[in-house]
């Protein structure tokens, strides 16, 4: 799906139609914002020229007045947009106080999105003189949250300890001079594990509409998402136990008749026992090399090595997921943020550590194509409730081959499997390309962020033969 963005086309891409009031959205992924579409406070809106392609060489006939004119027009539109002052009224802005030693901003007046899904409530003893010592719960923001709101202009934050204006001198609830954006950056970057790269990723994702929370709670008061539902342990029903017993019996019998595994001739054929007599079973017998993520790793790590930067830092929730601040659900994506210049790609040890904490996802269901309805509701692609994998298993078929003379036995055993609702068939390529555990790694390279999805491979579950 995302490959479509990377396919080259000879047509110039027109920016998608944007909601005119949405000043924060950007056009295409890899290009800058279309400055001519941003509303500017000063003066009438400029004539919107189409964003076209720049020629890469001068015209042979000479003269590039048209090209220069187009470029000048775009450049001046950009400067006009930048010159415009942020236009948020002070009535809808929130107010906060930044405490550097706590690395938190305490929100005094909260309005709008601040209360909705940002910040967490912390109980702190009240420090006002004259009020008896009692513990009050107040809304606090992490440094990245406060910085994001200040950058947007939705928060006026003053530093704790700065002189406070007297009642009469105050304008519009402001208690003191609010921090400028530069001061806010200087104060907040570096506190509480927040680096510039992590902030850039945070701000980008927030602007797109995701809910972003920290994976490792910085204090005990930080709300922790509900743990993932633990993977169902291999069923211990009588049916499963019988099957395991029978399988080991058949395995022992086969070893007895054909001889144990010989590394000189790993594949044995037997006409009488019909062993390896078709391509499927031959292919299955070829899989004798240890493979898959369950095989234990014996990697020695150097004892003096610094801790790995590959740690889940953010939890990501899609805008459509109902997100409750105090009891967040299990996250949709887990994000690791690294600096692309200083950190190489994760080694196998780091990747398996990351995968170790993630849940296994069921194979993805292909999107149902819906007829277009003007109401515009799209069914979310929820994974089917049936957790059983739809991968073909040849063990059942080998059972059937040997017990052809006892058909009644087979129907009884296969009926509980058929009683479950028929799960929609998964496309094997879709399952192979997604994997069963997903970790998102954001590599920030001096401002440009690239997100990669590393998925744990499931090739063993989807053989082609």
């Amino acid at each position: 799906m995302d490959d479509n963005l990377e396919r080259p086309t000879s047509k110039s891409q027109l920016p998608p139609a944007e909601h005119p009031e949405d000043e924060q959205s950007s056009g295409d992924e890899d290009q800058g914002p279309d400055w001519t579409k941003l509303p500017s406070v000063s003066g009438p809106r400029p004539v919107i020229p189409k964003r076209g392609e720049k020629d890469f060489e001068p015209i042979a006939a000479g003269g590039s007045g048209y090209q220069r004119h187009v470029l000048d027009r775009s450049r001046s539109a950009m400067f006009d947009a930048l010159r415009a002052a942020p236009s948020i009224s002070s009535k809808s802005a929130s107010h906060a106080v930044w405490y550097p030693e706590l690395a938190r901003a305490h929100v005094t007046i909260a309005r709008g999105v601040v209360v909705a899904n940002m910040g967490h409530s912390v109980a702190r003893p009240s420090l006002d003189p004259g009020v008896s010592q009692k513990v009050q719960k107040r809304l606090e923001l992490l440094p990245e949250e406060a910085l994001y709101l200040i950058e947007r202009g939705a928060l006026f934050c003053r530093k704790a300890g700065e002189p406070v204006l007297a009642e009469e001198e105050r304008l519009d609830e402001m208690e003191g001079a609010p921090m400028s954006v530069q001061q806010a950056f200087a104060e907040m970057i570096g506190k509480e594990d927040l680096t510039l790269e992590k902030y850039q990723v945070y701000a980008y994702l927030k602007r797109l509409g995701y809910a972003v929370t920290r994976a490792k709670p910085p204090t005990s008061e930080y709300p922790v998402p509900t743990p993932y539902p633990s993977a169902a342990s291999p069923s211990t029903t009588i049916f499963a136990r019988l099957r395991n017993l029978f399988r080991s019996f058949v395995f022992g019998l086969r070893n007895l008749l054909l001889g144990s595994f010989d590394w000189r001739r790993p594949i044995k054929f037997s006409r009488w026992l019909h062993h390896n007599m078709d391509y499927t079973s031959l292919s299955k017998s070829l899989r004798f090399l240890p493979s898959g993520h369950d095989v234990p790793l014996h990697i020695k790590t150097k004892s003096g090595a610094p801790p790995s930067p590959y740690e889940i830092f953010y939890h990501l929730y899609k805008p459509s997921t109902p997100f409750k601040k105090t009891a967040p659900p299990p996250p949709d994506f887990s994000v690791v943020v690294v600096n692309a210049r200083t950190t190489p790609i994760p080694s196998l040890h780091e990747l398996s550590t990351l995968f170790g904490v993630l849940p296994e996802l069921p194979p993805p269901v292909p999107r149902k194509r819906q007829a277009f309805t003007p109401g515009g509701s799209k069914t979310p692609t929820a994974p089917p409730p049936v957790p059983t994998s739809v991968a073909p298993s040849s063990e059942a078929s080998s059972w059937r081959k040997l017990f052809q003379w006892a058909p009644s036995c087979m129907t009884k055993q296969s009926s509980p499997e058929k009683a479950q609702p028929q799960a929609p068939r998964t496309n094997p390529f879709l399952a192979l390309k997604t994997g069963n555990k997903i970790i998102v790694i954001a590599a920030v390279d001096a401002g440009t962020t690239t997100f990669f999805r590393f998925g744990q491979g499931v090739f063993k579950e989807w053989p082609m033969l």
């Binding site: 963005l5 048209y66 899989r287 240890p290 020695k300 190489p344 390279d445």
Partner: protein, 399 residues
Amino acid sequence: MSLITPNRRGGANKGGARRNENNRIYGLPLPLEFSTPATARFHPARHILGLFGIPDTRILNPHCEGTFDPLTCSVWVTNSKDSTILWRRGFFGKGDLSRSEPSWHTRQMTARKAAGKFLTSEEIREKRRAERKQFKLDRAAALAQAAAEAEAAFAEGREAAPVAIPSGATWKPQAHPTAEDSRSPTPALTEEVEQEPEEPLEDLEHLQLTLQEAFFLIWNFNCLTVIDPATNEPMSLQQIWSTFRSVYCDKLPPPLSEPAMKRFDNPFLVNYVAYHYFRSLGWVVKGGIKFCVDLLLYKRGPVFHHAEFAVLVMPVYEDPADQESSPFTLANAEPFSWSWLSTVNRVNSQVQKTLILAYVTIPASSRVSCDQTMSPACLAHYSIREVVLRRFLPARMRD
């Protein structure tokens, strides 16, 4: 349609007919053939087996023959019947004078007959490249015309008239008068050539198997015999095992080559683990040098569909000390930079392939004794696991 056998039906051999033809020719996924002999006479074995519901199948082993070539580190199959079998049943190897399938002989034969009737894959490729070049010239001309038009319109102060710029999907090659003129003298020449008695054309091409492909065929199916070029004798499995590994050790200076034979990080072993793993899952595995990767995985074969996956084999040392003392320089053993990973991913997503990182763990010499390398049993100590890499676009994943 096999790309080298002539098609008599002409236009009817497109789409479904070609697919059926391909399914028929490339129907066997591995060199061994299973057959149920349909003999009418009474055979006790068939009936006894039939009581158990077991069909009586036999294995037909083609018993191909190849020669080991130490200079190119590969196995050459010169017998054209064997190379056809190995190519058609599993797409093993590559013709050394051809793009993939050993088709040099057929191309030479068709070059003698009237040109243009039968096309091999190389000729199709040349035709496609010429067409694409022409398309690019047309498109550049249209772009230049559009720019000139816009410039003239701007100078006069009016709107530019839109110029149609050809796109790759809708451009059709136009018949150029110059090409047709050059064709007319050739039929006269070919007529003259055919009147002369032709000497039989010897097939100078051979099929080249990589060491991993050859070992896979020998070890698992026993359908390939490798001849030692020095003694002209077939090599035993033990000899093949040590020769294939020594190919990498002989390049080292003499004091190092002896102990290097006992190392686990021999590139042959590491690449063989990856090759065997994907072949055992039913994928057709070919080389991936064209796309900056090590292996390409095809679902049934190159003639059916483009490769879906591009695999980078990443060796992982269990013991870092082994890596420091290693005389081999294994590719991708050191974790590389994000910019290179981005590059490889970008190259492959341009051609709609998904990048897979296949991690092969190399056992530590402290954990497993080095004498294990004397037999293929050492492969039990390696392990392979894969990780799928895709780009994540938050703007698209919002819903």
